[in-house]
Symmetry: C6
Subunit: 269 residues, 6 copies
Amino acid sequence: DFLNALHEVGPAFGASMDDLERRRLNGIIDCGERHKRIQERALLLVEQIKDNQSPLVTYLLEGPSGSGKTAMAATIGIESDFPYVKIISAESMIGLGEASKCAQIVKVFEDAYKSQLSFIILDDIERLLEYVPVGPRFSNLILQTLLLFLKRLPPKGKSLMVIGTTSVMDFLETVGIFGAFSISDHVPNLDREDVKKVKGISVSRFGVLKQLDVFCENELDYAVEEVNEISIKKLYMLVEMAAVGPKGKSAKAIQSGQEKIDLNFFSSI
Amino acid sequence: DFLNALHEVGPAFGASMDDLERRRLNGIIDCGERHKRIQERALLLVEQIKDNQSPLVTYLLEGPSGSGKTAMAATIGIESDFPYVKIISAESMIGLGEASKCAQIVKVFEDAYKSQLSFIILDDIERLLEYVPVGPRFSNLILQTLLLFLKRLPPKGKSLMVIGTTSVMDFLETVGIFGAFSISDHVPNLDREDVKKVKGISVSRFGVLKQLDVFCENELDYAVEEVNEISIKKLYMLVEMAAVGPKGKSAKAIQSGQEKIDLNFFSSI
Amino acid sequence: DFLNALHEVGPAFGASMDDLERRRLNGIIDCGERHKRIQERALLLVEQIKDNQSPLVTYLLEGPSGSGKTAMAATIGIESDFPYVKIISAESMIGLGEASKCAQIVKVFEDAYKSQLSFIILDDIERLLEYVPVGPRFSNLILQTLLLFLKRLPPKGKSLMVIGTTSVMDFLETVGIFGAFSISDHVPNLDREDVKKVKGISVSRFGVLKQLDVFCENELDYAVEEVNEISIKKLYMLVEMAAVGPKGKSAKAIQSGQEKIDLNFFSSI
Amino acid sequence: DFLNALHEVGPAFGASMDDLERRRLNGIIDCGERHKRIQERALLLVEQIKDNQSPLVTYLLEGPSGSGKTAMAATIGIESDFPYVKIISAESMIGLGEASKCAQIVKVFEDAYKSQLSFIILDDIERLLEYVPVGPRFSNLILQTLLLFLKRLPPKGKSLMVIGTTSVMDFLETVGIFGAFSISDHVPNLDREDVKKVKGISVSRFGVLKQLDVFCENELDYAVEEVNEISIKKLYMLVEMAAVGPKGKSAKAIQSGQEKIDLNFFSSI
Amino acid sequence: DFLNALHEVGPAFGASMDDLERRRLNGIIDCGERHKRIQERALLLVEQIKDNQSPLVTYLLEGPSGSGKTAMAATIGIESDFPYVKIISAESMIGLGEASKCAQIVKVFEDAYKSQLSFIILDDIERLLEYVPVGPRFSNLILQTLLLFLKRLPPKGKSLMVIGTTSVMDFLETVGIFGAFSISDHVPNLDREDVKKVKGISVSRFGVLKQLDVFCENELDYAVEEVNEISIKKLYMLVEMAAVGPKGKSAKAIQSGQEKIDLNFFSSI
Amino acid sequence: DFLNALHEVGPAFGASMDDLERRRLNGIIDCGERHKRIQERALLLVEQIKDNQSPLVTYLLEGPSGSGKTAMAATIGIESDFPYVKIISAESMIGLGEASKCAQIVKVFEDAYKSQLSFIILDDIERLLEYVPVGPRFSNLILQTLLLFLKRLPPKGKSLMVIGTTSVMDFLETVGIFGAFSISDHVPNLDREDVKKVKGISVSRFGVLKQLDVFCENELDYAVEEVNEISIKKLYMLVEMAAVGPKGKSAKAIQSGQEKIDLNFFSSI
Ligand SMILES: Nc1ncnc2c1ncn2[C@@H]1O[C@H](COP(=O)(O)OP(=O)(O)OP(=O)(O)O)[C@@H](O)[C@H]1O
Ligand SMILES: Nc1ncnc2c1ncn2[C@@H]1O[C@H](COP(=O)(O)OP(=O)(O)OP(=O)(O)O)[C@@H](O)[C@H]1O
Ligand SMILES: Nc1ncnc2c1ncn2[C@@H]1O[C@H](COP(=O)(O)OP(=O)(O)OP(=O)(O)O)[C@@H](O)[C@H]1O
Ligand SMILES: Nc1ncnc2c1ncn2[C@@H]1O[C@H](COP(=O)(O)OP(=O)(O)OP(=O)(O)O)[C@@H](O)[C@H]1O
Ligand SMILES: Nc1ncnc2c1ncn2[C@@H]1O[C@H](COP(=O)(O)OP(=O)(O)OP(=O)(O)O)[C@@H](O)[C@H]1O
Ligand SMILES: Nc1ncnc2c1ncn2[C@@H]1O[C@H](COP(=O)(O)OP(=O)(O)OP(=O)(O)O)[C@@H](O)[C@H]1O
Ligand SMILES: [Mg+2]
Ligand SMILES: [Mg+2]
Ligand SMILES: [Mg+2]
Ligand SMILES: [Mg+2]
Ligand SMILES: [Mg+2]
Ligand SMILES: [Mg+2]
């Protein structure tokens, strides 16, 4: 089954640069000290590979949903400047069986072993594992495959960096994936201080770039008090919704619209 | 298996407008403030999509059985005026295996990605998942597929709105489907106040439209005291049964017939 | 698998009138007030369908084994005078796999949707589900199919009445089958008062009709004291066994023979 | 699968008279009052069938291993004088899969339905179900098949008696097989009084009939005190072993040999 | 599946005399009273078969790993002098599926039924069952097969002795294998007294027979104090290791070498 | 399935010397007394085989991840000078099914049985078993195969040494693999004393051999205080990372760089 699947894998599986760019659709903005320190460390690991000090470095980014793990991993991949950078993501394997997914994963690693310097992102490992907390259920075939690749040294003279992302750290620890990574970091949600600094998000994705100053200083302070922890992803959504509110009203109205929305309308978000 | 299934999916799977209309067979009547506010919010989300603020908005309607979730979702779909509106419902996939159902779902989403503005209803998600609380059992293949589609961004320039409905919120939360939706709302049963306002339901479905005033003012008050919470769907059933009672008797008789029925005959409903 | 099975289903699956008659082999005798009231309600529901008030009425008869659920459902089906009356029963699908059984069920419903007025009996739902309390185990494929058909509206202009029977109410409630029926009733065992009225059962099935008066007045009173609850089916068995006792003895001997049998011989029944 | 299996079943499955005889290899000796009463009742049930009082009588013999259930059922089958008497036993289906076993069972019942009077022995139902208490595990396919056949009426004019045997009553009760039988009896082990009466077992199976008087009166009394409960099958084994002891010694030596064996040698039996 | 497997079984499956000899590679030495008594009883059972007293005797040897069960069973098989002696062992079925293993077992028994006197060893029943305590998991197909063969009488005029071995008595009891054997015995580890008597083990397996007197009297006494319970198999290993120590040293050196090894080196054995 | 798999196994499966060398990529340095004693014992066992004292010696190395078990086993294999030395490792069977893996294992053992002296390494037994603690799940097919091979004697005149490695001792004990090995040893992490002695690790893997003295005496003392237990593998990683730090700085800078890194940067390792 697996062997058939392996045979059928097309030659160019794995993500191109474009694919990586799509993972940080909203760009990378300043998210506070904690985010910055992780990025620094990641780049140091990239150096370690380039310096030929290690044939294999495996690095796990874990943290709550939406905290920016995938975007960060994509950024590091892009900035690494390695000749081979691929992302393994369940999204591109929807509906495939275990054996086929496994074959795809094998293909990406085998291809990586052919490049001097390679970079692989294992995005949302729980999704790759088809994990569901009820049971729990997951694909042991894929799990075993990942466990092995995370420890397997590339052939002589080749080097590989692997970055994984997950939001179910506990589970990864239980099944031994966490232990199989050599280093790991926690990517946190934004706290009040971080949020305050984020004001001035540009909603830039849609054709025209609109530099919105969606929160007025006071309201922001007030809103921030309400928020204890929020992911950067949710904050973007809030801004997008706020942007709908005005509809031909003045900039002033935007802010008042935002206030109403933030505190009443989106309370369930 | 899945690939075969995918290949066999006919070109026009997914519901037409007619199909949507069938989901609100009894029309949409005034069900009180709480229902109204949900509909408003849903339409705001539709605007957000149209304004190009978000490429993907996912919205979950949860609440007790018969509270009107499906009818409401169909209504929003119809009123959205999007070029592509489809409903994914277990009803149209009776007896199919996991892989085939999965293929159907993939087809609807892939088709949606081709339209500028798309609208997909995931109706009765627990049925799509073949969920049963004993075990619990469910299709992990379909679950993983939904989890991925709920987070996957449409291609550049395309926008998608997804509305899901469910009456087993707890389960959806456990398996992560709830968390995968960006927003959610609770669709409640009718309480006493709501029921009082509903008097004057028209039993309009059967050939001739009969505008029945099935409860007389006093009886209604009395009956309403008995009822603590009732779904709009059950209320319709009560009215239908009441309508059988008379059989050529006077309108007056209807009401007395109703009273007897309501309090004695249908006590087990 | 299911599709193959569906294709192989013969054209005339489902029970004919004869089949229904076999379900009330011992006829229908007076079993007390409680039985009577259920039958009345059922016939009212039949009226509701005929009056075009509802396109779909689903009615569940639950109660202990042998209490008369199947016979009652068959009787209502026969008396409904609907053009399409079928019984779905595990008995006629012995040894078939899930997919085949499912296909049979689909066939009966699809056929029903073609008739103006249809009547379907889902007999012994726990057997259809291949239910066993250990585990518990059951066919989720069949369960999901039933859940969907119990809620699916027939096409415009067609009406359908479904009567289900079961003796494991708890399980049906847990898996949501109970909730999927719009109405339900409990079919009880006979209590002492009911039994007293049953005297004079005719053991009529065997070639010659023998009108036996198997209990003499006093003995009956005595025997009835012993019995707390008994199903109508068991009562028939008692009478059959009593009828063996005499063997060419006088009517007097029957009764004495019966007494001995009832209190000693059948104590373990 | 099942359908294939059904097709492959040879025409003459089921046991012949010879087969039944093998089930009571050691003959039937007097085992005390309790055994006798069961046999009487069984024959009364046979009469009930013959008298055309019942189309279907199902009778379960349950009790500890070796207590004589199978031998008793075989005896009743032989003595019934019915034209069709078959035994369904796991022994003749070793190594077959569920579907094949199920097909065999179906075949025996279908054949029985063709005879005026039929008699089927379901021997060692737990073995037919491939039951093992760990889990517990068992074949639900076979269980469902038995549940249905135990309730299914033979065609008009045909009558069927079914006798089942089991030594795991609890399990049969849990899964509903016990409830599906109309009557049941407990076949007990021998107690001290029963054993005393058994003295004088003839070890008759082996070519020459040897009428051994293996216990002398005193020793028996003594030995019997030791034994609290023993199955008739174990008692036979004891006698067989005792018969080895002598080897050309006097009858006196037999007894002394027996005594040594009984109390020391076989303590672990 | 099973039927295919059955068909493919070669004609000569089952162990030859050679095979049996390999099971007692280290010969049979005096292991104390308890071992002796078991062997006596086993030979008495062999007599019982030969004397035609029983068509089927089943005997279970249970005890800790390495206590000598297999060697003992092989010895009895060899000494029985029966024309058909076979060993059924998982070792000769490595990697086969359930059905194939089952077919092999069936073949050995069917062949045995053709011989006047047959002897079958079911070695390491837990391995035959693919037992693992986690779960627990085991092959129910093989279990059911063994349960049936342990009770099935050989054809008229044929006799069969079965000896089983196991070191997981508890499990065999739970699943009913223990109950299916007519007799059983516990094969113990050696205690201090037994070990003392074993001095003078000949390490005879390797080409030249070396009669080593590996423990000097005093050291043995000392060592034996340390050992509470040891299997005969472990004792052999100790001797083998001790034999490595010397390497051209004097017999004296052997013992001092042994002492060092026994108490320090092999403490973890 | 297995038989097919067995047939497809290529002729030269199993690791060559090169393969073994790759397992101790960082060489073998002095890791303290405890490591040394294990190696001594292992070589003694090798002698035992060569001396023809035992046809089969099985030795388990267990201990925390990275403690050097695989490197140690490879070293012993290389130094044994046996004509047949193979490593069975999950790494070379990624993505294969149970049956295929099983076939590979069988092949290696069968080949080993053909050589006078053979050496097999079962590396990371938990990975071979596809073990995951959730459930737990594992391949029972492979487990049973290993259990049998660990006890099966090679053919007459052949000898085999098996070394297994594992970091989940508890599990191996539960499923009986531990008991199936004749001897076992614990390979510990380095404690403070061990670490102190390790200073002067040569980072020799990368083209040019750099003899780094990465810790200055004082810092080492300080760092060692922080570390309670560390695996030799982690220590190597620390050194590699430290080696990245300098980048054209003086040796002095290396150490200060190391200090910063050790205590702050790698705290999460
Ligand atoms: N400094 C930043 N780091 C990460 N993401 C950022 C940053 N600034 C902005 N973003 C934006 O925030 C979003 C983070 O979402 P992302 O998908 O990376 O989160 P995630 O942690 O992977 O979530 P999930 O657990 O659901 O996979 C992206 O759209 C990204 O463009
Ligand atoms: N304001 C309203 N909102 C929703 N439904 C309404 C409203 N007014 C009338 N209805 C009618 O009430 C019925 C609601 O049933 P619907 O199937 O939508 O409930 P549901 O919550 O989806 O139930 P289920 O959980 O069983 O799927 C429909 O027939 C619809 O026509
Ligand atoms: N008033 C009555 N209602 C129902 N059954 C009656 C009545 N009078 C007589 N009977 C007879 O009683 C028997 C009832 O058995 P039936 O099979 O219907 O019970 P059941 O509740 O379906 O049992 P089970 O739970 O085992 O399926 C039938 O033989 C029927 O002919
Ligand atoms: N009165 C008797 N009733 C039953 N069996 C008797 C009687 N007298 C002697 N026997 C002998 O006793 C033995 C009873 O064994 P049998 O196999 O019937 O027991 P069982 O209860 O079916 O055991 P199991 O539970 O193991 O199937 C038979 O060999 C039978 O010939
Ligand atoms: N008196 C004896 N009884 C049994 N075995 C003996 C005796 N004397 C010496 N031996 C030797 O001891 C060893 C016993 O090992 P054996 O394989 O029979 O143990 P086992 O109980 O079957 O172990 P396992 O539970 O692992 O299968 C054999 O090598 C055998 O030659
Ligand atoms: N004395 C030593 N013993 C073992 N390994 C050593 C020694 N000295 C240096 N090493 C190096 O340490 C590393 C030990 O890693 P190894 O893979 O053997 O650990 P492991 O215990 O097998 O880990 P895992 O449990 O993850 O399989 C190897 O790179 C090896 O070259
Ligand atoms: Mg992500
Ligand atoms: Mg709905
Ligand atoms: Mg019924
Ligand atoms: Mg029996
Ligand atoms: Mg053994
Ligand atoms: Mg290792």
